[in-house]
């Protein structure tokens, strides 16, 4: 009795194996597609903008003449923004994470806050812009200042830093805190001296990633009315300011009239990407160097 037709099997086998091989190439191609586009994007921006970056461009003020235009104001504005975001989100973000992980009783309230944070992370950034416009710029009459922009951005990235900090706190092994309690430490002493120092590298990694999200965001800044005009350099929290993404935005819009502005925008993008690259590298270094495994 013939159970199998060997020729038939081999014929089908061949086809199945070939399809598998071909699809494998297609899948690999899809994976590489994104990376290739990324490479094109970076190459294109470098090609367009690198020649425009010089000392004058970095330290100059904005100018109506594109040949003399500089981005010092935008760089300072972005740094001020970072300062506000770091202070506000680190304090509130870590505090909220400690509460949710270590103090909150498992129950309705904790569930509510947790669900709420998850949902906030999915709210479009422009909606935060509208909240900032209504609450900070108009209601609290801050105007389009560093403080208003910083607080808006802080609210935007807060869910990211809370979730990252929670994960960091959760990763601290129980035997460490139990040893601390065993020595007679109070809960807060344990948090302060044992849990936080252990978790802080991971928390900082998350915080830096959140920060890099904040400095790349443009939409909330447009909505709260951040200009890209000839304004004095920001020197404090209550000064008006512009930021790198805003500068890119306005120069890209100008590019449809005068094509040189596209090069200026590209040059500004290089600076912004460089800043993001430094931030992300720092995050990776902190993670690799200080993160303990138990």
């Amino acid at each position: 009795m013939n159970y199998m037709d060997q020729a038939q099997v081999e014929k089908r086998m061949k086809r199945r194996v070939t399809t598998n091989k071909m699809m494998r190439k297609l899948f690999l191609g899809s994976t590489l597609f994104g990376l290739i586009v990324l490479a094109i994007l970076i190459f294109r921006v470098l090609y367009q903008g690198i020649a425009w970056i010089d000392w004058n461009f970095l330290t100059g003020t904005l100018s109506t003449n594109f040949e003399n235009a500089g981005i010092m104001g935008a760089i300072l504005g972005t740094l001020w923004l970072m300062l506000v975001v770091i202070i506000v989100t680190l304090a509130i973000g870590i505090g909220a994470a400690i509460y949710l992980e270590l103090y909150a009783k498992k129950g309705k309230l904790q569930e509510l806050i947790q669900t709420n944070i998850a949902n906030l992370a999915g709210v479009p950034s422009i909606v935060y812009g509208i909240l900032g416009l209504t609450l900070f710029v108009r209601l609290m009459e801050m105007g389009s200042t560093v403080l208003a922009g910083g607080l808006t951005m802080s609210l935007l990235v807060l869910p990211i830093i809370i979730v990252a900090s929670q994960e960091a706190l959760r990763a601290v092994p129980g035997f460490l805190s139990e040893a601390s309690y065993g020595m007679g430490a109070t809960k807060w002493q344990t948090v302060q001296n044992i849990i936080l120092p252990t978790a802080i590298p991971s928390i900082l990694t998350g915080a830096i990633l959140a920060l890099s999200r904040a400095i790349g965001e443009t939409a909330p800044l447009v909505v709260i009315g951040i200009p890209a005009l000839l304004i004095p350099f920001p020197g404090g929290l209550t000064d008006r300011f512009t930021a790198l993404p805003m500068q890119i935005y306005y120069w890209t819009l100008d590019a449809s009239l005068t094509s040189e502005y596209a090069n200026l925008a590209a040059a500004t993008i290089i600076i912004l990407l460089l800043l993001l690259f430094i931030l992300n590298s720092t995050a990776i270094i902190i993670r690799n160097k200080y993160q303990q495994r138990f």
Binding site: F33, A96, V127, G216, E217, A219, I269
Partner: protein, 318 residues
Amino acid sequence: MTSNSKSEQLSTHSVRQLINEKRSSKSLVHVMGKIIPGILFVFAFVSVFTTVGIIYTLFSETIEFFQRVSFVDFFTGTTLRPLSQNPEFGILPLINGTLLSTLIAILVAGPIGIMAAIYLSEYASERLRKKLKPMLEVLAGIPTIVYGFFAFTFVTPIIRAVWPSVEATNILSPGIVMGIMIIPMVASLSEDAMNSVPNSMREGALALGATKLEVTFKVIIPAAISGIIASFVLAISRAIGETMIVTIASGSSKNVGFDVTESMQTMTAFIVEVSSGDAAAGTTIYYSIYAVAMTLFVMTLCMNLLARYISRKFREEY
């Protein structure tokens, strides 16, 4: 001498008394222990305040808007002319633009993202996967304004070179670039879902003689389908809320239809247009951005809740 007298003093107390004394003391440590949880609770509640703030501002100003423009006119109006003599506030052109750009984006990101997920989860070696996945996620870390620049100054000219009837600002180019932006989201989340399918199922199918491709389509994808669909829904939500790419590359014409060569405006781009041209507080056009933002907020919230529901409800437990 001092230590002697101290120990004498201590010996008159029992340990129980010592503990009680410690508990009732108003030392700094004790006070901190009482105050800190309260402060931390307030910090945790900031997120709730944020949500309340968003909903309250959107809601109150939207109600103000609907006292000037009727609810029905807003949601069924096919013309949006906020600046004309007889202003008309129909949101349909904006919804049209939003859905069309989202559709283009998901047509790009869906297939490419899922195929990349298959490669990373089923074909790539562990070492290669660990290298490729973070590289792919760099795409998600590029600021959207940079994608906007890329769409406007690079992708659009290329599209126009092969398809001359495409306008300088069109919905096609930002749609494609938005799709590229959300590839990592689809790929990463789908890959997580596929990766969590237990190896025994893979091995069982392979042992029966299936090729990797057959394992993927007949075992892995059906088992991971809830995670994959959830990743799509989240990607759609992300595309709906995306602002800068469409603002820069799609212009501000409020066209209706399915002609991807035309300039169209999305809800997000409308908010940017109105808020960057000084709309005085109190005018109808000023309130209109709240009504549009409310619609946007509700749409993305529904998508996010749907994604959570799908991944919880239909998750296969092994």
